[in-house]
Symmetry: C2
Subunit: 212 residues, 2 copies
DNA sequence: TCTGAATCGGTATTCAAGTAGCGATATAAA
DNA sequence: TTTATATCGCTACTTGAATACCGATTCAGA
């Protein structure tokens, strides 16, 4: 099912794309019709050559002394990330972190809409968080399947994460954004991205500790 | 001010250390006195060789057919990360994300205590979130300086981030965990770690989009 | 029209990290 | 006591990404 036309992008490039998108949007708002790699790099504190290579991978030709056409560039990056068409997602676990994510405005820019939220606590069922109705966990499999949702945001306690993940995958989910500290084991073809607060904290405190 | 005795750890190794620490803790709770790289790797779904190299960097010698002494290994990793002694931090911005972080239990395991929280909204001042008193932003510089806090968690709106960062650095902060999407510009020697939700999401949706 | 400067786009090099292979060693079992 | 084996720890090797370099292009201004 893989598409051989699209050449694979380096992972670091993919990670930088959202940052580029924000800056491009701001520059377009400021009236710019062309984005040069040097200006963009300057703005973001990145190497201009690295930036140019990243932009080149989007496939939009740039023009000497002008840069890349802003609108086309943005569209191409969005397409590369799969952010060009609306994507549905569900959120599982409406604790404090889950609730905070339901209010996260950034998802809209990424064409991501959270169509349902679930929680194991039946007393939360029926309540509404940031405009999304919370449903009991028992309804999850059926609803995910019916709505054909392929992306899930997992903000449940670590102990519950693996079981939730299995239910989600069974129901058709292909990608999981995992905020728990469980190491999820999923079948081939399902992609898990862990968001582990301890990792950047480790980098930070290690660097501070070393520098005295 | 750099300590030349400590050899620098690869960044990926540092990021894996918190994951190792959790697993080691669980295995110790289960009564294990020795941790072998193969068992740990199996448990975490990592390459055994890679795991062994990571563990070796902690500087604790392992024994053939046994593995690494659990207690010493954990202590060494904690030391490498600067998590062996208590560290104070402040949190700036008590919106929904900031409040969620104030309730994050993981900080305790990392010997990190949030000693103060600040918010620009004066109406929030005086309230208490997860046991931490919220103070007005105006008190931040003075208090950070007085308490000699070197680490800050920044959960303010993107537009306010740069100004906050400058105040914090001016007051003595050496590391910033930045949850806003601003690209902070800070003086040399100050370390910023960005936590950008859009990045793992980009990796996820890109992969899903490619796989059809 | 001519000249210069900024920018793109490709190639080559360097560097860091992950991977592979293998001998050394201590432990457990025969 | 001997033997088999799991594990460590060292030394290449490979891969992927960042960096450096340089020619090609096109626009702005003289």
């Amino acid at each position: 099912m893989e598409n051989p036309n699209e050449n694979p992008l380096p992972l670091p490039t993919i990670r930088r794309y959202p940052i580029f998108l924000r800056a491009i949007g701001e520059m377009m708002d400021a009236g710019e019709a062309f984005i040069s790699s040097s200006v963009l790099a300057e703005r973001l504190g990145l190497d201009p050559v690295l930036t140019r290579k990243d932009l080149a991978m989007a496939g939009v030709p740039g023009r000497p002394r002008r840069g890349y056409p802003a609108e086309e560039l943005r569209a191409a990056i969005n397409r590369a990330l799969g952010w060009d068409s609306a994507t549905d997602a569900v959120l599982v676990g409406t604790g404090s972190l889950g609730s905070a994510l339901l209010g996260y405005a950034g998802f809209k820019e990424q064409n991501l809409s959270i169509v349902a939220a679930f929680d194991a606590n039946p007393r939360l069922a029926g309540s509404t968080v940031h405009g999304v109705k919370v449903r009991p966990l028992a309804e999850m499999a059926r609803l995910v399947r019916r709505l054909k949702v392929h992306l899930a945001i997992l903000t449940v306690p670590t102990a519950a994460a693996q079981a939730c993940a299995e239910t989600l995958v069974e129901a058709g989910v292909r990608g999981i954004l995992n905020f728990s500290s469980a190491q999820l084991s999923v079948p081939e073809g399902v992609i898990v991205q862990n968001v582990d607060l301890a990792q950047p904290l480790a980098v930070l405190s290690h660097a501070i500790a070393r520098h005295g």
